[in-house]
Symmetry: C2
Subunit: 338 residues, 2 copies
DNA sequence: TAATTCACTGAAAGCGCTGTCAATAGTCAA
DNA sequence: TTGACTATTGACAGCGCTTTCAGTGAATTA
């Protein structure tokens, strides 16, 4: 049933070498012969066997994208960017995600083991020792997304979390005049959370505002838990010149809704700001002041970098840093509202 | 640099056949020999070459997922479901999307041409003649998602759009007592839109409610355009026992927000309902009455079906029908609000 | 005219692996 | 002790393709 290069050769009355040349370096073969071969290919519905070809070329033209999760717009945008770039560069995109870091590790081990990918872009939510070790001499070319794995030795595309978070905090403190900023982050070990929290602390210190661990909450980036937390605490939080800085829009949105349910006015009684500028930030009432993270671009840049490395495995590691952008909407009660 | 089966064989002092047997059908080789081979494999960091293996087996253990778009939660959930199922079944998931149907067609042609996938799950937003023709003797096993391609000859997993839309319309007319229901859909050619519009017409007719083409709008499933449309029309729409049935939550959300901006109260002055039950449906104020579409399950079922077919290419085509579910929230002014 | 180049083509050597087949050694019933 | 088995292993023929390398005849140059 499957038609091979040999069948084509026979039909076109040439050798398989010639057929192969038509397929790969067309200019090496006489125009008339080429036509004959091309006709045979079409008539026979010939499709070169990808494995045989890969066996020779040791290239699959596939790159992987490993994400810590696929849930929500954040990842979906990364995928979208990666997909676009991959198609543009003629690569296929293999996507996988794993629940926790152990699972991610076994996923990567699998990829390495079976190594059918020319390269892989890796994003992890937290880095275990095992992961770090695994990557040190990972057999497949890779780039790291979102800078969770420590850098320099490999390509990476990071978002300057600190910069974004500091911009937000400075806006809250300097422009909106906030005197107390609660922080609601993800897991304590989550690197994003850590960076944002650092910015939180730093800017408060700079401004000479007292702050303590009691104003800091660690959740899981989900709407529901944030809603629950806010429901319990909203009346303690509320007050003039007070604000909640949530580490993503989902949680911020949950807090806003909890506030609305409890009769606390946003931003008059309490400011609430988010991070990521996802869909929900615009839809939440009032729309959220947040930090736009260029997710689509991150996905695209990662694949671009990856394919460059695949093409030249020895090229010098590059680190691309993407800059987040403060997006001021209606949830932080600043002068710009006008 | 790359270590082959031969290196392992040499190191373990056996033939490559034996190494191969250790790799594939371990029980055929003596326990002591096997240990020796396994040690060599480990020491040499040997990883079997996927291409050479594929060349013999003609299996890549990769399945594709072709989507019309990657934007938004709808697709992201499908991917999530597909990814989970694929991992469970030991397959890798290759994802691609194409902008329009021409692009999709060329994508599929590419997949067929290079055929490195054991199978592919295909979802298209509309079906052109070329596409239909292409699929008739598509060389790669496939299943069709969301029933856009006409069925029976191949596996498919569809969502009974009509059922969901009718349930919604009956709820609006019978329970909420709506006397006039505007319809805001996607493109005229979009199959989802067609199914939902049909339900709209049918239920209105059943209820003996007059309805004409003027109450029907065709947009693009996006928030912004719906917002704009609603801004222009909101005062014409508003009125007792009137309602807008938007073909997805995004548009419904845009309409709700436009209404809020124009001072039209939802649902008191106008009901607004959506479709899909995505994130925005819950976050919109008031939260949207909508139809929940089991996207995650659709992705998972598609891959399950696909892998079954890959395992047995001759098995009888199955059609899985998933049932949407009416989700009543606060945007439709029904008695259940109480 | 002879020597050299050129454009094109075919033969054949693998790429790394799996599976068939035959060979060997060891076991067991007779 | 012998023949019939069984368990274990190795040799080797491909899988379908790309890529040297070595022709072939025609065109160009000396």
């Amino acid at each position: 049933m499957p038609v091979s290069i040999e069948d084509v050769a026979r039909k076109a009355n040439v050798s398989i070498s010639t057929v192969s040349r038509v397929l790969n370096r067309r200019n090496l073969v006489n125009a008339r012969t080429r036509q004959r071969v091309e006709r045979a290919i079409k008539q026979l519905h010939y499709r070169p066997n990808i494995f045989a070809r890969g066996l020779m070329l040791q290239k699959s033209e596939m790159v992987g994208l490993v994400l810590p999760d696929l849930h929500g717009e954040f990842y979906s945008e990364i995928i979208r960017g990666a997909n676009q770039e991959a198609r543009e560069l003629g690569y296929n995109l293999v996507i996988s995600s794993a629940k926790d870091s152990d699972d991610t590790q076994s996923l990567l081990e699998g990829i390495q083991q079976r190594s059918f990918l020319d390269g892989v872009a890796i994003m992890v939510s937290e880095v275990t020792g095992g992961m770090q070790e695994l990557l040190v001499d990972f057999a497949v070319p890779f780039v790291v997304l979102d800078g969770k794995v420590d850098g320099a030795m490999h390509d990476s595309v990071v978002i300057d979390q600190g910069e974004g978070a500091r911009a937000m905090m400075r806006h809250l403190v300097n422009t909106c005049g906030m005197q107390r900023v609660f922080f609601v982050g993800g897991l304590r070990t989550n690197v994003d959370t850590i960076a944002r929290l650092e910015a939180h602390q730093q800017v408060l210190s700079e401004a000479g505002i007292e702050h303590g661990p009691l104003d800091i909450y660690h959740l899981d980036y989900e709407y529901d838990t944030a809603y629950a937390l806010a429901t319990d605490n909203i009346h303690d939080w509320a007050g003039p010149n007070r604000c909640v800085f949530a580490a993503n829009d989902e949680m911020a949105s949950g807090i806003v809704d909890a506030a609305a349910a409890a009769g606390v006015a946003i931003p008059d009684d309490l400011g609430v700001v988010g991070f990521d500028d996802t869909r929900v930030a615009r839809i939440t009432r009032p729309p959220l002041t947040t930090v736009r993270v260029p997710m689509f671009r991150m996905g695209a840049e990662a694949i671009r970098l990856l394919c460059a490395r695949v093409a030249d495995p020895m090229c010098h590691p590059t680190a691309i840093s993407l800059h987040p952008q403060l997006v001021i909407r209606k949830s932080c009660k600043c002068e710009l509202d006008a």
